[in-house]
């Protein structure tokens, strides 16, 4: 019954009228509320779309670059003065001269120092070593005239993509009119091609955008994740088994649980600081090595693995334990033979998700010095290395226009890895997890 304003009871007809009168307004506010929800979801999805289109629109072109195809005469004597095709001999040889000569002839042998310098600046400074590598790979072609593709300098690449405009006054442009004329000439002879960059996956860190690649960083990430997995998986599973199956409910167990929750809440950069203070300052381990990086990331991902492993163990029905105990298995036999095997898919799923987290993590690795400029591909866990997200962070700092594209391309590679890992986790869960 609804009371009227003066406290008396309303008749049912009056009450119904009042409700009917308010219905329109209430319906409007109901719709408004629903629209707010839709707007909120649209907003977040819009952000997601913006983020991904932003990255992909720059990253896909970043996977390609411009090459100049030149006819080079692979002169045995000039390239390889010692005649043994050893790296030493090749690098003392005159590959640079061979590349320059064929470039000049492709441009119609320009006269004058200025024009020659302009011509030389078209090719990446790495061209001679590319020729040497080509010769090592195809020894049968030595002594012949062959077409070799050379990467163009990153400024020329920007020009070809239209980032540097012809209309800009020459003094404000990074490349002068002479260079533009040469590039046009090469273009008319259709010697310039736009192809998938072979430096992206095979090149290492470099200040030159056109030859910079993620090979070293990717291998560094793999080493780091390997260490992380070897430490975090056994530790995480063992902790989960102990806490879920064995631990008595006492003070010590409680402290362990509180600590795991705290570790999950600690910002990732703090793990890096701990790694710096304990492993590098106190234990005197070297900086920048995947071993320390892996340990730090392992401690960071431990809570994720423990929590999901506990959930997986809890999902194994008690009847299975009772059955095993009933036929005379010991407590440990029950756990090892009848609880862990069915819980393993769930544990692996959690581990993969934890590894994906570790793969994307940057801040702790900066703390332990994995941010160094490392050209060599790391050959082990104790060699200086960098990691993919750190490489992205470093490239993002470089001012050259082409590095923005390279960075986006590296981000796409990182995202591809993360998506594969997460998809793998989902598939694993769907395929192997048993519903009891």
């Amino acid at each position: 019954m609804t009371r009227s304003t003066d406290g008396g009871l309303l008749s049912s007809q009056e009450a119904a009228e009042r409700v009917a009168a308010s219905l329109k307004k209430r319906g409007r506010s109901e719709r408004r509320f629903q629209y707010l929800g839709i707007a909120a979801i649209t907003c977040s999805i819009l952000f997601l779309v913006l983020l991904f289109t932003g990255i992909f629109s720059k990253g896909i072109p970043g996977m390609f670059q411009h090459y100049v195809t030149l006819e080079v005469f692979l002169d045995k004597n000039r390239m390889d003065p010692q005649g043994d095709m050893s790296p030493d001999s090749l690098y003392t040889g005159d590959a640079r001269g061979l590349v320059n000569e064929s470039l000049m002839s492709a441009l119609g042998n320009p006269e004058g120092r200025k024009a020659k310098r302009a011509a030389r600046s078209i090719l990446s400074s790495s061209s001679p070593s590319r020729l040497a590598e080509f010769a090592v790979k195809h020894p049968e072609l030595i002594g012949q005239k062959v077409a070799v593709k050379f990467a163009v300098d990153d400024d020329i690449d920007s020009f070809m993509r239209g980032f540097i405009s012809r209309e800009t006054p020459e003094s404000d442009r990074r490349i002068n009119n002479q260079i533009i004329e040469f590039v046009d000439r090469l273009n008319q002879a259709s010697l310039i091609s736009y192809e998938f960059s072979d430096y992206l996956f095979s090149g290492s860190a470099s200040r030159d955008a056109e030859i910079a690649g993620i090979k070293g960083a990717l291998i560094g990430s793999i080493w780091t994740l390997g260490v992380c997995l070897l430490i975090a998986f056994p530790l995480g599973v063992a902790t989960a088994v102990y806490l879920e199956e064995i631990a008595p409910k006492n003070r010590v167990t409680e402290i362990i649980e509180i600590n795991i929750n705290n570790l999950a809440a600690v910002p990732s950069v703090v793990f890096g600081i701990m790694g710096l203070a304990i492993f590098i300052i106190a234990f005197g381990m070297p900086r920048s090595i995947p071993l320390v990086g892996g340990i730090v990331l392992a401690l960071m991902t431990l809570p994720t693995i423990i929590i999901s492993s506990r959930a997986a163990i809890r999902a194994v029905p008690p009847s299975i334990r009772d059955a095993a105990l009933g036929v005379g298995a010991s407590k440990m036999q029950t756990i090892l033979h009848h609880v862990i095997p069915p819980a393993l898919p769930g544990m692996l799923t959690g581990t993969i998700i934890g590894m994906a987290q570790a793969l994307g993590e940057t801040a702790p690795l900066l703390m332990i010095g994995m941010v160094a400029f490392i050209v060599d591909v790391p050959g082990g866990v104790t060699e200086p290395a960098t990691a993919l997200p750190v490489q992205i962070f470093m490239w993002a700092d470089f001012a050259e226009r082409m590095f923005i594209q390279k960075t986006s391309a590296a981000i796409i590679v990182l995202l591809a890895f993360l998506i594969t890992m997460n998809a793998g986790a989902i598939i694993l869960r769907k395929k192997l997890e048993r519903r009891w």
Partner: protein
């Protein structure tokens, strides 16, 4: 070096003892004359584990310990000026010796360095030999002991299970040790910092201008170093406030819509999409913030005639807000789903519309959980590093204007500690003090969130 090359021989010895033990058990089993207490393989595990585990622990202990011993023995070679010098001088002397040991030569070294290096190499050889013989000897002897110990009545299974149990306990305690390690490492360095800079100057100081002592001595630093954390605290607060302003409405309304209105199909599509936002690496968000959002905010400001710093708190905060939307939405979603259907049905029964039921019944019931979710999101925002490092800049302004450039605790830590640094300077140590503040704040927020959930949670069943 000796550590990795000795693990394999120890494992081989363990495998041999495992085989011996198991073989013994199988023979007894086949004879059938006596009743074995355990299955044959447990005898194998027992002998194998006894042969390897203590030897491995000994190996780790010895190979970690020998460097410390050598370092103290090295003192006899140091000339008096090094011994009297401060920590930096001794560190340089030590590096000189280690370079020679590793075969790296820069010009001619003093004779004492040569002598120390050759002595170190000699010790290393002796130590490698000693460690190898001690661990392998220990492994062999322990194995023989275990092998002789086993008999048909020997409780091998219980022994093996006890070892597994202790291994499990050891693994679980790693979480404790990590926490202790974090707290102690940060605390010790912070105490050293507070010996140089009074704690009240750090907490209440309004100017942050760290300088290396070297720069100060050389007079090139321009003024003395000041370590007041308030500007950074203000910056962190400002950026987190922007982030929360973005994330809470969007996250909360998304959660309400998904939990109450969305069809099962919509939910199964939208929910993973929101989770993707949480899975994107923070370095990608940082790149996005610095490259896309910051220039966008700046140009919008310029078109409105407002001066916006190129590394504004607004841009970093916006992107951070996007990042924490899923934290708010998925936690709130869980909490809203946990409100029992009977409450909603009661509200509908009284004639309320769906939104009235949500606003007046479901949300109040879920409020403690939602508040906890928001607090956790705040703690996430405070600890977030890469976005602010890449998009928020380093200018330590004490400002509450989101259009200004500010800096945060985490970005200062990264700037100070990444790259080479001298560990003794107040500047380096200040990063540890900042980390201490960060840990205390995030753990306090976490604790606070847990308490809210515990105290105000309604028990419905």
């Amino acid at each position: 070096m000796s550590l990795t090359s000795l693990i394999l021989p120890l494992l081989i010895i363990g495998a041999i003892y495992f085989y011996l033990g198991q073989h013994w058990g199988r023979r007894q089993w086949a004879l059938g004359s006596v009743k074995l207490h355990s299955l044959p393989r447990y005898y194998g595990f027992w002998t194998g584990l006894v042969a390897t585990v203590p030897a491995l622990l000994l190996l780790i202990f010895l190979s970690l310990g020998d460097d410390f011993l050598f370092k103290s023995m090295l003192k006899q070679f140091y000339p008096s000026d090094v011994l009297d010098g401060d920590v930096v001088v001794r560190a340089i002397a030590f590096t000189k010796v280690m370079n020679l040991v590793e075969g790296v030569r820069f010009g001619v070294q003093e004779p004492w360095v040569e002598a120390a290096a050759s002595a170190w190499i000699g010790w290393q050889k002796v130590a490698d030999l000693v460690i190898a013989s001690v661990t392998i000897g220990c492994s062999l002897v322990a194995g023989i002991f275990a092998y002789r110990q086993i008999s048909p009545t020997f409780r091998a299974r219980n022994g093996v299970e006890r070892i597994i149990l202790w291994a499990l306990i050891a693994c679980s305690s790693i979480a404790i040790f990590t926490t202790i390690g974090i707290v102690l490492s940060v605390l010790f360095e912070s105490i050293r910092f507070f010996k140089l800079i009074p704690i009240q100057d750090f907490i209440f100081g309004v100017e942050w201008n760290p300088q290396f002592e070297g720069a100060e001595r050389a007079g090139s630093g321009g003024g003395t170093a000041t370590y007041g954390m308030l500007p950074m605290f203000a910056g962190t607060f400002l950026i987190s406030a922007v982030a929360i302003t973005v994330a809470v409405p969007i996250g909360l309304f998304s959660a309400i819509y998904l939990a109450e209105y969305a069809s099962l199909k919509t939910r199964s599509v939208v929910k993973p999409l929101l989770e993707v936002l949480a899975g994107v690496p923070t370095v990608v968000y940082g790149f996005f913030a610095a490259l896309t959002v910051a220039p966008f905010v700046r140009s919008v400001g310029a078109s409105l005639g407002i001066e916006v710093a190129s590394e504004s708190a607004l841009a970093a905060g916006l992107v951070m807000g996007i990042m924490i939307i899923p934290f708010v939405s998925s936690l709130s979603d869980d909490v809203i789903n946990a409100v029992p259907q009977s409450l909603r049905d009661a509200a509908y029964g009284l004639g309320s519309t769906k939104s009235e039921a949500i606003r007046q019944v479901v949300l109040p019931a879920a409020l403690p959980g939602i508040v906890a979710a928001i607090i956790l999101a705040v703690s996430r925002a405070i600890g977030e590093t890469m976005i602010v490092v890449m998009a928020a800049g380093l200018a330590a302004n004490l400002s509450f204007n989101p259009l200004d450039a500010v800096t945060t605790v985490t970005s200062q830590i990264v700037t100070i500690l990444s790259g080479d640094q001298e560990f003794e300077s107040a500047k380096t140590l200040s990063a540890f003090a900042l980390a201490l503040v960060l840990i205390v704040v995030t753990l306090a927020l976490n604790f606070f969130a847990l308490q809210i959930v515990k105290r105000y949670r309604e028990q419905y069943d």
